[in-house]
């Protein structure tokens, strides 16, 4: 939404801890750790571990201990014995009631390693992992395509702005991009519904709900894919509108910088073809600083999914999380937050790896 270029992005989790621990390990391990890909991957795993640990203890320390609240709730609703209610809550939370907090934690992590996220509290018997597997792909599809489209479009438009600096095109696009960045993404969503949807009746707002038309069988058939795209279109457009501006402006400023670099000048003197200069010399180098913002931007788009999916009634992961929150389904929320952060961390990992491919310098020095 707003300017990310100022904010040094949250890359490489827990750097502080890392620099501290890396001194303690023997040389071969340290060398192995110096490998860019190993380091980036290790940081991702460590971050996920930190998140799951904090969520685990946080949920148990929540005001009005959720376990007691739930037992109370089940007791009043179903009139069963305290022990039964307690057992049920214990089962859904995946903990041994007699064990210490630490043992519970070890159990929980063990279950996680076996990909067992436990069951939902509010609808007993529903495996959280199944629910997540049902909802998450839609969000990844919508957020991912929106993100990619805006990244690519932003890079192209930003380069155009830099090449035609101070032209009418540049000024217009600058203003437009400020506008795109300034207007919050859910406001874009509402504007899309009010304008094209309701006032001009370009599409049927009601029919765009859900993730695909009922009655279609999910699979690789044209009808299903068409319907899936149709339903995801509005969220995708919203994600694009909301993030395009900041990409454009960042790309413009970094391209302007690169255009003044010697190697571009030399490339022109070398008589290289324009297309080659624009792609491999200007574009590729100008893109590099954008990777520093990628992390925050991905988190931002992923986070905004909760609101956007509610607004468009798109049944993705944000919708699932929101439903779980409204019924206070603690285990589901806990699982959802964990999976969502893992998704976030792994998309960052992906961005880091791509960055490593694009810039040979980081593979050795590890600095951006």
């Amino acid at each position: 939404m707003t300017d990310f270029e100022l904010l040094d992005a949250g890359h490489g989790a827990l750097e502080g801890l890392h620099s501290a621990t890396s001194k303690l390990v023997p040389a071969p391990v340290e060398n192995f750790y110096k490998n860019y890909y190993v380091r980036v991957f290790a940081q991702a795993i460590l971050t996920i571990w930190a998140v799951l640990t904090v969520t685990f203890f946080l949920v148990r320390q929540m005001p009005g201990n959720p376990i007691d609240v739930l037992i109370e709730q089940i007791l009043t609703q179903e009139g069963i014995s305290y022990q039964e209610a307690y057992d049920r809550v214990a089962a859904s939370f995946n903990f041994d009631p007699d064990a210490t907090m630490f043992d519970q934690y070890v159990d929980y992590v063990g279950d996680l390693l076996r990909l067992d996220l436990g069951t939902s509290i509010t609808s007993p018997g529903t495996k959280i992992l199944d629910e997540i597997a049902r909802f998450l792909p839609w969000t990844i599809f919508a957020v991912g395509s929106g993100f990619l489209i805006s990244f690519v479009l932003g890079i192209v438009l930003g380069m155009m702005m830099a090449y035609y600096r101070d032209s009418v095109l540049d000024h217009t696009l600058s203003l437009v991009s400020s506008f795109f960045t300034g207007v919050p993404n859910y406001i874009w969503g509402l504007l899309i519904i009010i304008g094209p949807g309701i006032s001009w009746k370009w599409f049927d707002v009601g029919a765009a709900r859900g993730t695909y038309d009922p009655g279609l069988t999910p699979g690789l058939n044209a009808a299903f894919i068409g319907s899936a795209i149709e339903h995801a279109l509005l969220p995708i457009i919203t994600y694009v509108l909301a993030t395009l501006g900041s990409w454009m402006l960042s790309m413009k400023s970094s391209t302007t910088g690169v255009l003044n670099d010697d190697y571009v000048n030399v490339a022109e003197a070398r008589g290289l073809k324009d297309r080659r200069i624009i792609t491999a010399y200007v574009g590729r180098n100008a893109m590099l600083p954008l990777f520093a913002q990628l992390s925050i931007s991905i988190g931002f788009v992923l986070g905004s999914g909760v609101v956007i999916e509610e607004i468009f009634v798109y049944w993705g992961f944000g919708h699932y999380l929101f439903q779980a929150i409204t019924v206070r389904d603690y285990t589901s929320v806990q699982g959802a937050v964990l999976i969502l952060s893992s998704t976030f961390v792994f998309s960052n990992l992906f961005a880091d790896l791509t960055y490593g491919l694009l810039d040979p310098r980081v593979r050795i020095s590890g600095e951006k």
Partner: protein, 338 residues
């Protein structure tokens, strides 16, 4: 010189360039003319901001956007046809650059795209000029890298950041002659390098020129470099060539007080330290240059004539030309013991 009779490969005539700025037009070069013969090494020397880089950039038409060429021709001879570089189409210009006239820029530190291997950048250059066979490109590149005394295999497959400054400079030299150009422009080829690397680069250049027979224009404020490499030296002051001639004439019989000033401001083994003197004053404002000879405010020999009329670039003996009203007085003064 035997080349004199042969056709010049490059003939610059009456070249004037101004930079349009908010404060007015900066007359960066005015009415510059010189010839460059095959195999010749021409040195353009002068202070920073004297316009020597502007001249060299004009030769490959890579002037900044606010520069306007107000007059002149740059005639380039290839085989039997003569082209005016200033009239080339974009496509012809792209082909002319590097294949006919390569420019090795000042500060090679950033001359290479940091994200591409050296190999890729050699291939880019060759492929843009019609080469297709990567093996052939590799073969030629390795030969040239060896010529600049680098470990060819290692450098060819390295990323630019894996090379030191001197290695980059030499790689750029090799890249410069990759397409076998007739002219190589070297802009301050040795600045920002340590003294040993400078030495190595000069040796490499001399070697290469002997083997590849291209013409060199090099721009420098380093007179020792000019003395060592150049056949012809041109002194540039305030956008004009004030003296041009064979290297020995310039160094031992300079006819322009500015050239003489440059020479005496450099410590050499022959001059004693206490004879060292700098040229008083600073280069003129090129938006409103002084009338007459532009050097007169800083010149010890200046008379009223200098303030009124700009001296023409005139013959002295043979190919030695100088633009000064007081060549004789300068020569006289040098005979006196100082």
């Amino acid at each position: 010189m035997s080349e004199q009779r042969r056709e010049a490969v490059l003939r610059v005539e009456d070249l004037s360039i101004v930079y349009r700025t908010k404060r007015g037009d900066v007359k960066a070069t005015s009415q510059v003319s010189f010839d460059l013969h095959p195999g010749e090494a021409l040195a353009l020397i002068g202070e920073s901001g004297s316009g020597k880089t502007t001249i060299s950039l004009a030769l490959i038409r890579k002037l900044p956007k606010n520069a306007v060429i107000t007059s002149g021709h740059i005639r380039y001879q290839r085989e039997d046809s003569v082209q005016d570089v200033l009239k080339l189409s974009n496509r012809q210009l792209r082909e002319f650059r590097w294949k006919d006239c390569a420019m090795v820029f000042q500060g090679a530190q950033n001359a290479f795209n940091p994200v591409l291997k050296v190999r890729r950048q050699f291939e880019d250059t060759a492929q843009s000029h019609g080469w297709t066979d990567k093996a052939a490109i590799r073969e030629r590149a390795l030969k040239l890298l060896e010529l600049v005394r680098l470990d060819p295999e290692r450098v060819y497959d390295a990323y630019p950041h894996e090379l030191s400054g001197g290695m980059k400079q030499r790689t750029l030299l090799a890249l410069g002659v990759l397409l076998n150009p007739q002219i190589v422009i070297l802009d301050e080829p040795t600045t920002a390098l340590d003294i040993l690397t400078q030495r190595a680069i000069i040796d490499v250049l001399n070697d290469m020129q002997r083997q590849l027979r291209f013409s060199i224009i090099f721009i420098s404020h380093d007179l020792s470099l000019a003395a060592e490499m150049a056949d012809t030296v041109a002194t540039v002051y305030a956008g004009e060539i004030v003296e041009i001639g064979p290297v020995n004439d310039i160094f031992y019989r300079s006819l322009h007080p500015y050239t003489y000033g440059l020479l005496t401001s450099v410590p050499t083994l022959e001059h004693l330290q206490d004879h060292l003197q700098s040229i008083p004053g600073s280069p003129p404002n090129l938006i409103n240059p002084p009338a007459g000879c532009k050097f007169h405010p800083r010149c010890g020999f200046a008379t009223d004539a200098c303030k009124k009329e700009d001296p023409p670039l005139e013959h002295d003996i043979g190919t030695h030309l100088a633009a000064c009203w007081h060549k004789d007085r300068l020569l006289e003064s040098r005979k006196e013991p100082v």
